[in-house]
Symmetry: D4
Subunit: 250 residues, 8 copies
């Protein structure tokens, strides 16, 4: 967007023809693979390379996208929602020349090296129960990928309030908090009341019956009586981590 | 039910004819007013007189039922969900010979004298916010009517946890707790985790947007991660009080 | 919580230093295993050892938690929602030195000896149909684990009212009733109208189509026209049993 | 439909021209008033005159339709969902030459004389509570309009089972039963289990909170564990009566 | 119920003692198998033997119930929702001495001989599409089991209205109609407008996306603008057949 | 969008400076009134002037927007969802110099002259009932405003199929059809099966109970078994008309 | 329908007897296979042969229908929702004499030759993401089958607006647009605001958590603030294509 | 919380007695008014004084709370959801000695002086339409109260993308963005894709029909395909502002 003025200037100066200018606007910065349009300028615009949402793509598509991105010089790519089987298939296609780490719990694959922490403070990732950990790991691994120091505080749900209160110091030290809970999702409100930092709440599909696959926790968090709480989609550890990282890098 | 054997005995002894026995079974213990069947034995069976749910009846019907019950010697009747206007209309019909108390906040009318407390312990009525008080008063007044000592602990929602923790003693002293909250309803889980007594949770319709008129609090409470919590209908202060009183009189 | 005063006293008397007091408050009574915080004082606070919700944990986690709890001297632990396969895996990890009983129908494992009944009366566990029995067994086995005498009354749904009425005596003798039904869940209201004891209703996911996995029974029970009925989550036999046991031990 | 053959015969015999036949097919048996198409043959096809659903029409439209129908010789018309205000407005337009009866409770107006009962047996209209009576009266008045003997059995909800069991004889005598209940709607299942006749269940919007304006009773009735129960829309007393009358006239 | 008077008479005459009378009332007519209470008088009360809902029972339970019922002389039993695998398991347990027919499409097993048609007229079973046929066969086989002549009219959905109109004669000849449709369920309204007989509508879970597993068809049928239509649960071919048979035997 | 190339050309030719080009891009073609951004080029881009959705704006805002648009030379403006009271208020503010027509039934105000029909064919606006007419009029008046010939076919719901079939010619003659129905919304499928032209279905909130304010009709139409049917929002007569007009002007 | 007049004429002329005329009306143009009624005149009425919805039919039924249709001279048949396994089974039954193409991505089988493009313009099929492509291919293959030129524009979701804006020319050139998106479905509104042609929006079930299997995208598209957008069922690529083709052939 | 150590130290030093320490913990920092517990330390803990949610409190309660807070020296209090009537009543009770400003559009009252902007950057408040402005003003006034510079960008919904793109500079300059939209809520995704700052999305109840009072926009925003977007409750301008201010003050 900010290049428009530059381009217009070049057009005015005759350095760039009208046709070329139009072409430039149309061709860049995407690579069109037919089934996917890859954003090569995303690191510039958004501060990190393209992120691949693995759930809706088959192994061929993921391998194809990775190959293309690496050909274009993108060497630090995050793939989310990649279960073990699909990961194995992708790996089989790409072979050993393909440097990456797979985080099974988090269902995440990252190519290249992990970024050094460069965020301002620490991001706390807090869960109500053990069952929420896969979502928490999706958040934690994403946060580390995006250059944040992470403090994992797991299984401190409100039914045993001492567990939580005993971590008050760590909660208070965090610059941003990602609070993850299923069932009744009360943890977000309680943490939101204790701290004076932004809380990003992630409802999880943990539970049964009237949890309705996370709806209960979602509504609970949206209705939080504590100020300073906002919410992302059910099980969306990545989304919470992304926003938390934005805030932690301000 | 337990009278059936007695009646059968009397039939066997010839003291009661078959026809009369059948008639008795059919006629008692209800008074059929066409639009209402009044249960005159309810005090025996259930420990309190007939309770009138005022919301779905017009003033004429309520006045008619009260008149009939009082003619039948029932002198301590609870009418719930009776707003000021309907109460005024009922009062205008029944006049001064009609001893009663009206609890505006609770929307409850009670005829006759209030019962002395005869429950084993105290029932705590706890609310998350000020807006939950009308439901709490419906519960508290009902509890007092049913012979319970009530400890009102209002506006101690989890967003300011200190407010709640500072009342830990009173919470722990209660034999049963009625916990009332709208919005995200987290209070039930937190209280349920603190005490070792039965918690009856009442979701309220307090809130807006994604509270969906109490659905959020309802689901939250049903999914409580704390043990020992059960739930009644949205805004059903009466129902929670009734069960709490049953437990407190055991 | 009640130890705070004691601790403060010891601080005042110089028996405990400020630093130690703080440390004590922070460290106890939980064991932090990273993926789980185990509550070792739960028996004191809540009257029973830690309960493990098996559904959201894998076999490794359950075996790890059991091992730790037993090392800490907790010898009577309940694991719920443990299906046969996961139970087999846990057992394979822990071996024969691991005394336990597995209740297949109830999907429950209990380590150590069962507690002798010490509740005041009997808890009736009542189901509408045969299909509700797994939930009922979760409730019944939990009740026995918590020291209650249980009266199982199964398959007495309201479509054949005689089946229910013929058990009126047993229903009336119970100190608390756990009433379990899927489909339209009408049993809770009918039983609630017959007895004068607290009824804890458990909707089940039994049914199809417009039962919406238990929603129909859940709403039905929440709207019960009978007084004295409260409700727990769909299929939550454990939760109902827990509250029933609390009441039966008062 | 059955006239098509007759018409074709007349065409074959030359008694009716092709154009006239087409015209006949197109013109009859409706009167097109622009905003309404009136069915003048409905009594033939369906056994009763046109029924006007008053809720979605204004007073002018209702008065217009009534005038047209009466001009066409239809003298026994049912208007449903007509509240007092709209009725007054209609009456003011049509004046005294307009013979009719208004049933305030049922929100029904009927022109002309009521039909003599000509159904085979009696239709029982049964309600759980007093608040269900307006819907019950819509059903009962419609049933009488359609020529049925009606037995009104009101306020016999399952929370006081004796009230219902004491009417077993009347329930059993009915040829068809219309069972009307709000809240948890359990009455339909219980009655369905007692009788051996078709039960048409009408959920009502009576209740609050998790009754969700009748959804609870609706789902409950659709999931009835009793055989022989079918369901109509929430508050649809007319629809239940219509089908009950069809059955009672077989 | 109707035997109560008789029993009372015998008590009055001394022919039956009070204790025996009570015992009789309590013991009969159910056989309590622990996991199931079998109704042996159902044929008397309801006109057909016990029906077994197979979905929520395992093969052992079904085989056990069948064995018991046959020992008690019930030789014509319907088992619904019995898929091929469970049927095979039941058959393997009961062996060749066990005369029965299995209807794979309908997922129904019937023991003994089919009843001769003794209903007054024909029951039409009408479907919108080919995919609705399993539900339709559940209805049709049940209807035949209950003694009805069935006219199967399949795949006549409203998108091709000619298919339906060409069967108008058969539709009109039916004494009762069971109309089965998924997706938008419009067939019920259209058939309801054509005929003058009771229509029992069965929504099916056929469809995808916004059919929400039959919710769309269910709501559609409940809101039918045609008079004389009532509705049963989604996919409940049995329930519709049961009520249709009741009506057809009046 | 298409002007970008033109502008770039002028920049290249030096006819327009870079700064001016940027300014132009930023300033046009909107007028920013603070509370509203008015699109002055909409007639060019979309074929009609700005349309004002009246429901969410107060009279002052509507009057302000109209005044501004007319100052900018826009003389043929459509305001939708404008009830009588708000219209009166707007009119009072703008006075007599303000040429407009108000369509009460359609809740639409149009300034200036109506456009002459210039669409290719006729658009049929079809309703199931009388109560659907306000939505139909919103569609019809919008269609006429957009230059279409409209054929109104009202009250031809599927419960009386003859009413519909008798209009088959008119239905078949239409180039596009807007089909409007509440309750079960079956009309869309039936019309969709009869014609070979695009059908745009409009569910209405007409109905009660399980119509859930139009949800039933909406789902029904989305699940239409007829090909060639698409759907707009509940009661969105304007939206259907807009798309129909686009199609009719191709 | 249009043949009725012709037939009547022949009856009038004596060329056809009344009985034969009736028979003709009843027998044609369907072939009744018991489980399916095949429409042989569909090409005449609707412009394309019968389309088979494969999801609710088993392989035997599909093979049977294909055989029958081909016997009746229908040589260009579309089968939708046919997954690989079912396709293989159908092919195994019908053998090599059976000329067809299978589109795996689109889950579509087409017999005979593809039709040459005869639509007026191009139909753009636009998706938000890679995961939406199967639905898009169902639309695209259907469109080609129906004689349309298709422009596939995939993976241009609004999170990277440049990708979309760079295709503005192609979007603007399309005569009709099928816009396909899951998750929040915003693409439909953005495209609807850019173009001046009809947009048919297809929500997909792509997403997780609060996408509720496509509900989010569905509601989003129904509430589109852009004019000219209508919506079909979730994942209904076929339906959108069908209507788009109708419009493109006008 | 952080004072606990201090207090313990004083206890250890004998400066504070155990009883006094306990008392202190219990009494502070709340004022218990019976119907409300006022938090006097909130400014310390949370950075702003107590905020009063006006919707669930009557005028007496609000006036009482304000009086108490001002007595306690709190002179800059925000009251939200205070409609004109309730504001007038509060003002009448408190009189002229009560310095405050009322923001009618925002339904907010603020006592005392507004805080000077002390946030790091600007917070953009962006709306899709004119109807979203009341929610936007609730956000904007709250932001100003909390010390933020606000840039209001109203009525830039995605249906007219130019309006939005022309404000790209202002969007990009904001440190945090509050994006407010009803209907399909697409604006959040589009803005989220354009900027590299945290976006807090507020769904509004603006819309009708299938917007289901904001549900559509809520789901849309939760499913946003753009990274960096989190969501608050429907119409919760205050909540979004609160979190945005937290972030802007980091």
């Amino acid at each position: 967007m900010t290049d428009t003025k530059e381009l217009l200037k070049q057009v005015a100066e005759g350095a760039v023809s009208v046709e070329d200018a139009l072409l430039t606007l149309k061709r860049e910065p995407y690579v069109d693979m037919g089934y996917a349009n890859l954003d090569l300028h995303r690191r510039l615009r958004k501060g990190s390379s393209e992120v691949i949402y693995g759930a809706g793509k088959n192994a061929e598509q993921i391998a194809g996208i990775l190959t293309m991105l690496m050909q274009k010089g993108q060497d630090n790519i995050l793939v989310t929602r990649l279960d073990q089987d699909k990961y194995d298939a992708v790996k089989a296609m790409l072979g050993t020349a393909f440097p990456e780490t797979y985080y099974k719990n988090a269902r995440i694959m990252i190519t290249g090296e992990n970024r050094k922490p460069d965020g301002v403070g620490t991001v706390a990732v807090v869960t109500a129960g053990t069952s929420d950990i896969p979502v928490a790991e999706e958040a934690a691994v994403t946060l580390e990928y995006l250059g944040n120091e992470v403090d994992r505080i797991y299984d401190v749900g409100v039914a045993g309030l001492h567990r939580l209160l005993n971590r008050t110091d760590r909660l208070m030290k965090a610059r941003v908090l990602v609070v993850i809970a299923g069932m009744e999702g009360a943890l977000a409100s309680v943490v939101g009341g204790l701290v004076n930092a932004p809380v990003i709440a992630v409802p999880t599909s943990v539970g049964y019956g009237a949890s309705f696959n996370g709806l209960s926790a979602l509504l609970s968090m949206l209705n939080s009586c504590a100020s300073g709480v906002s919410v992302v989609n059910i099980d969306n550890g990545f989304g919470a981590a992304y926003q938390a990282s934005l805030i932690n890098h301000m």
